[in-house]
């Protein structure tokens, strides 16, 4: 059924359709309407879940951990500072191989305090062992949550998934979405039936410590399964298309990239703006393309090499700064292409930090400076502020 709803509402309804048993979240630091909508759905009896109103994000993630360990499907959402506070538990959940889905709403990190969008929060958590998917629009973020549970709970994966969506730009924007029915989702996503759980009739010890003779192999297994999850993510996207008729890419989603001389890479909502701009540039006879990096963990190394192999230039629209080094995404794209024949130069254009709009003008600036040979720069800067300092 098509309806015009807020991005947060789309996520809440999608999560509801996934039948979580336990939902736990903390109200601020900061939060979105996702958990408010889910609270209302529980209060109205629309979904049959235990809603645990915790005293911190650390505990929200910990409640989810306990619930999944006890054999239930769980959910949480948070953003920015809250994600940072969860970080310790997020590593732990991945290490314990507990399948879980949380929404990582992308917002800037303090200081200075900012509640607006960029990608510094989830990018800081890229090495936790969580798989990370980034959504372009409301329909994709809705569909992605349903796929995320399927990926996470797959016996070949058993790693948690963070669905990343841009704060405000997506969470607070109304778009038309096609909402699947409960029957459709039930047919796609089976009930959670874990191999191991906390059960007095079949007791297991979960979370034992590992000495140096064991730890490294455990990390190796996580690494292997995270890399292997790429196939499962692709499979989930294909199965989803077969069931729901929608396709928005699997690990990547190229737009006008086949003959593109310059390919812009983006994650999240900026890809929508990029596609619009690509249409404009194509109308002017310029061969530019947009490549959506839909899956950042696992990192789609081979797929990127293939997608970028024929480009003369790559520009990464970078919404997170690896302070003191490079843009996080650009560094990984460069590493992926390193040593490839005809490796295109990769420009890191940092922009959109703390909610700064990324517009066609920003892309024009990025293109011009990339063509001029600049490799790492901030785009869309206010020159008068820099001069004043």
């Amino acid at each position: 059924m098509r309806k015009m709803i807020e991005g947060s509402r789309a996520v809440a309804e999608a999560v509801g359709l996934c039948r979580p048993d336990v939902i736990s979240a903390y109200p601020i630091t900061p939060q979105t309407h996702i958990v408010e909508d889910l609270s209302q759905m529980v209060a109205d009896g629309d979904i049959d879940a235990q809603y645990v109103r915790v005293e911190s994000e650390h505990s929200a993630a910990s409640v989810c951990l306990g619930a999944v360990a006890a054999g239930s499907r769980a959910y949480s959402a948070t953003t920015s500072q809250g994600l940072m506070l969860m970080a310790e538990v997020l590593y732990n959940i991945a290490g314990m191989r507990l399948p879980l889905v949380i929404t990582g709403v992308n917002r800037a990190l303090s200081a200075p305090l900012s509640i607006w969008n960029d990608h510094q929060d989830t990018m800081a958590l890229r090495d936790t062992g969580w798989l990370q998917l980034y959504a372009e629009n409301s329909q994709e973020v809705l569909d992605m949550h349903i796929q995320a549970y399927k990926i996470s709970e797959d016996d070949r994966v058993l790693l948690p998934v963070m669905v990343c969506m841009d704060g405000y730009v997506l969470t607070h924007t109304y778009e038309s979405v096609d909402m699947p029915t409960q029957e459709e989702v039930d047919a796609f996503l089976p009930r959670y039936d874990p191999l191991y759980k906390l059960d007095p009739d079949d007791p297991y010890t979960l979370g034992a410590f590992a000495d140096p003779s064991l730890y490294q192999e455990m990390r190796y297994e996580i690494q292997q399964d995270a890399l292997g999850s790429k196939a499962v993510i692709k499979e989930a996207a294909r199965d989803f298309k077969a069931s729901f008729g929608r396709w928005m890419g699997d690990v990547l989603d190229p737009y006008q990239c086949d003959d593109a001389e310059t390919i812009f890479i983006g994650l999240g909502t900026v890809v929508g703006t990029l596609k619009e701009w690509v249409d404009v540039k194509r109308g002017q006879g310029e061969k530019v393309g947009a490549l959506k990096l839909r899956c950042f963990r696992p990192f789609p190394l081979e797929e990127l090499r293939e997608a970028l192999g024929n480009a003369k230039r790559v520009v990464v629209v970078e919404k997170a700064v690896g302070v003191g080094a490079y843009g996080i995404v650009a560094a990984e794209v460069r590493a992926a292409l390193y040593g490839q024949a005809n490796m295109p130069p990769v420009t890191c254009a940092m922009a959109g930090l703390g909610g700064r709009d990324i517009t066609f003008e920003t892309f024009e600036e990025m293109l011009k400076r990339a063509q001029a040979g600049e490799s790492d720069f901030f785009a869309g800067m206010r020159a008068e502020l820099l001069e004043a300092s």
Partner: protein
């Protein structure tokens, strides 16, 4: 002469073969607790001595389902387990327990514990109180008593050890108005068992703080753990009290021995007996015990 018959029923709770130090008060207390609880339970354990000595992968001393996540989140993990069991309709038959050391409970996990109390989860939380961070090398915690020397509150030329009194977490727990709070001691087996049994019959958040002597951390002979624990209670330093719905309902009467009897056998207090300045601290400790005795009517 034949060896005495050794009667020990191996239950499905906390099993022998773990790596606790000789004389570990905590290991004995956990065994008593788990024998009382029985097999139909799930345990969430914080990082700490109990976790480390009972579950070096791939070994485990736990015959019941047991999970360890982090240092500060057992109350939240237990909350999640409880919520899952509630959803699954299994909560009536399965007890959810949490174990944390005093550092995990009074310090780093205090917020999570308060949250669990306030939300009313049906969880029985045990704080195993050995009065310092023993697993990491005897550092001072919020539960370290006044004048005890630890590796981060050492006695020195200008210090008599810990300069602050022990945080009164049982009273704070009781102030949440939860149905049951108790202090217990490994050394008083029957009393500990009775309190565990009582807690098991009550629904909602319950907190039992168990005094567990630590030979390497406190510095006394391993064979004396029960004795040392008894002295702590009998001098008024560790009052055994029960609260129901925020009100004190029962206390264990004591012999009211001088605190020196408890302090003198322990390395962590030996600096108090070596100098005149040290000896001058003893009345302050007696005062703490006397306050407990008066507050709870321990010697009436």
């Amino acid at each position: 002469m034949s060896a005495p018959e050794f009667k020990y029923e191996i239950t499905r709770g906390f099993l022998p073969g773990h790596r606790a130090c000789a004389g570990c008060g905590q290991a004995s207390a956990v065994r008593l607790i788990m024998e009382t609880v029985g097999p139909q339970c799930i345990v969430a354990n914080t990082t700490g001595c109990l976790e480390v000595f009972s579950t070096p992968h791939p070994e485990s001393a736990w015959g019941v389902p047991w999970v360890h996540s982090l240092f500060e989140n057992s109350a939240a993990v237990a909350s999640g387990i409880e919520a899952a069991l509630r959803k699954q309709g299994k909560l009536s038959g399965v007890k959810v327990l949490a174990f944390g050391g005093d550092g995990a409970t009074l310090d780093i996990g205090f917020g999570a514990l308060s949250g669990m109390f306030e939300r009313g989860h049906d969880v029985l939380y045990f704080c195993m109180d050995n009065e310092a961070y023993m697993n990491t090398g005897i550092q001072r915690s919020g539960s370290t008593p006044f004048a005890a020397a630890t590796t981060t509150s050492p006695a020195g030329r200008e210090s008599f050890g810990e300069d602050r009194p022990k945080k009164d977490l049982p009273a704070i727990a009781a102030a949440h108005g939860i149905p049951y709070v108790a202090t217990a001691a490994m050394s008083f087996f029957a009393d500990l068992r009775r309190k565990v049994k009582k807690a098991l019959e009550i629904e909602g958040p319950r907190y039992i703080q168990v005094h567990v002597p630590c030979p390497p951390g406190w510095g006394y002979e391993e064979r004396l753990s029960v004795e040392v624990g008894k002295l702590a209670v009998e001098c008024g330093m560790y009052p055994l009290v029960e609260w129901e719905n925020g009100k004190v309902t029962r206390v264990r009467k004591i012999k009211k021995i001088p605190v020196e009897e408890y302090l003198k056998g322990q390395r962590r207090f030996r600096h108090l007996f070596r100098t005149e300045e040290g000896k001058a601290q003893l009345p302050k400790i007696q005062e703490i015990a006397d306050e407990n005795i008066e507050k709870y009517g321990l010697a009436d």
